[in-house]
Amino acid sequence: MRDKTPVGPPADDEAPDTALTRRDLLTGAAGALGGALLSRVSPLDAQGTPKKPAAAPVPAAAKPAAVAPPPPLPVAPDDPTKVPGTPTSAQGGRSPFVNPSRTPVGDLAGTSYSPLQDLTGTITPSDLHFERHHAGVPLIDPAKHTLTIHGLVERPSVFTVEDLKRFPFVSRVHFIECAGNARPVFRDAKNENITPQRAAGMSSNTEWIGVPLRVLFDEVGAKREAAWFLAEGGDASVMTRSVPMSKAFDDAMVVYAQNGEPLRPAQGFPMRLLLPGWEGNTNVKWLRRLELGTQPWQTRWETSKYTDPLANGTARQFSFELDARSIITSPAHPRSVEKGWCNISGLAWTGRGKIRRVEVSSDAGKSWIDALLHPPVLSKAYTRFSIPFSWDGKPTVLLSRATDETGYVQPTRERLVTVRGAGTDYHTNHIVGWRIAADGRVFFHGDT
């Protein structure tokens, strides 16, 4: 049971690894946990005591999730110059010797972590973009999907996907990061068996194509008194978030393409909201409706979830802009290092503009040296950094520390706990790194 993934909100909302799976729900009585579930399915009477049992709600179309094992490796010819290769094909695939994979946790409401350690450069291949959804990935016919804009507008309007494509478009490279991306490693700072994928894989970086939101708001005649808008998704969660109008007139977009092709279903096909630099949850996927109003709607997703309780007895909400963060993606657990030269390579990003600097320490933070930032350094986008490193065989700790163009310096975990409190864990961005043992094995180091 423990290796299965939960049906309900896991990962950034809850600890993921001990929950029920959709398979449990669907197979019902099979197994002790399924039995325990079924034993709970019984209506209460008016006094709140159990009555006759009822059947678990099972959707006919749902199928158990299954992660296919990688196919067996082919036998490569000893000399590829002496035999013809494979013929042309309609769609390419990766080398059978390369198998980067997301880590799915949960299924109907789940997260798939992006394999940061397997990626180079800054663009996340679309099939490896992290996914996070709250009621499954919907199957949407683009010919039937529409975006309705209404509320404080002169002309309530409906736009099809084809309508959107007729507006002037822009192309922008931006990261998206879940507000809970560092949550597991913030909560459990002592766990050393963490990969880059698990430490920061609820983020990805993409070339997005779409319409600036201000163009759409001009089209419908947004009224001057509009101060917030509500964005609503067209999936079974029908998720809603409130967004200040100022973001619409800054850099918000409604995007319909990523990395040269239409959006992938898990990224919101056929259209999603893109709010560069803002917490992932606000980038509403499968966007079906925008309503303009004067006040935030105080939805579940901006009150009960994605808020930051502070030590002073309040909870901070609308924490939109993601603070600067970095992570070394190589070397990293579970791989080992050997004596001699290699690259320290990693990613840095900030929701507040450009990364100005990434420093790396190879002595557990006693000294720091500037890493090379590989151009282009784009605003609110992944920046790749690297620095050559020669390991001398002695145990040590590698760390990275990002500074953004506002002068914000990525803090330690201890600093975040001091300024916010140990009970807060969304929007965490603390310095992390890797402990290198004497035998070259590499372990996560999150207790900074």
């Binding site: 309900g8 209506p43 709140g48 079974a236 409706r289 009960s304 807060t424």
Partner: protein, 196 residues
């Protein structure tokens, strides 16, 4: 004539012939700021999807439901995941009922505290909003307005926020004041050197 101008002229000619319009434009956005794309949304089609209920509850629909009716709805539609008494099945299914700790709001200091509707939810009206749009998990949007009022009433009663013999409708739900009502503050981070 430059190539761009030639293309523009050809485009204009094509537009005149093909579309019967008298002019064609390239390059500059329309002076009106409008591209005349999309179509007008009818009042009926907006109403069909305009389901949000904000903090003041102004959009709450007609209907009503009692705590005891809510117990029936909850038992049939919610308890299989959230437990008989709203205790949840963490971590997949959130705990819904619980007022602890009753003093203060120490969630920022204590990571072991469990957030519930009773202790970490600022507006009663948005319980209605969330339940109606997203629950039950496998049959979202299947509850009638009366059922949503009822299950909202049951949740509030279990959390000792309304009485066990209460019935909720739009007006009475608007009047409910949640324990965490004044705890939520706007983000005050601004970038720069300060870590907040």
């Amino acid at each position: 004539m430059s190539r761009t101008a030639t293309v523009s002229a050809l485009a204009a000619l094509f537009a005149i012939v093909a579309c019967g319009r008298s002019t064609a434009e390239t390059g500059e956005p329309p002076a009106s700021g409008r591209y005349d794309l999309g179509r007008a949304a009818t009042a009926g089609e907006v109403a069909a999807i305009d389901i949000d209920i904000g903090p003041d509850g102004a959009e709450l629909p007609a209907g009503k439901g009692s705590v005891s009716q809510g117990a029936m709805v909850y038992g049939a539609k919610c308890a299989s995941c959230h437990g008989m008494r709203g205790e949840g099945m963490p971590p997949a299914y959130p705990k819904l009922v619980g007022r602890e700790p009753r003093d203060g709001f120490p969630f920022g200091r204590d990571p072991a505290l469990v957030k519930t509707v009773g202790n970490y939810w600022p507006y009663a009206t948005t319980i209605f909003d969330y339940v109606r749009r997203s629950m039950p998990f496998l049959q979202p949007g299947s509850l009638s307005n009366d059922e949503v009022y009822a299950v909202t009433a049951w949740l509030l009663a279990q959390n000792e926020i309304i009485k066990n013999d209460a019935t909720l409708d739009a007006e009475s739900l608007k009047a409910v004041r949640m324990p965490a009502r004044d705890r939520f503050v706007r983000d005050d981070r601004k970038g720069g050197a300060e870590v907040r």
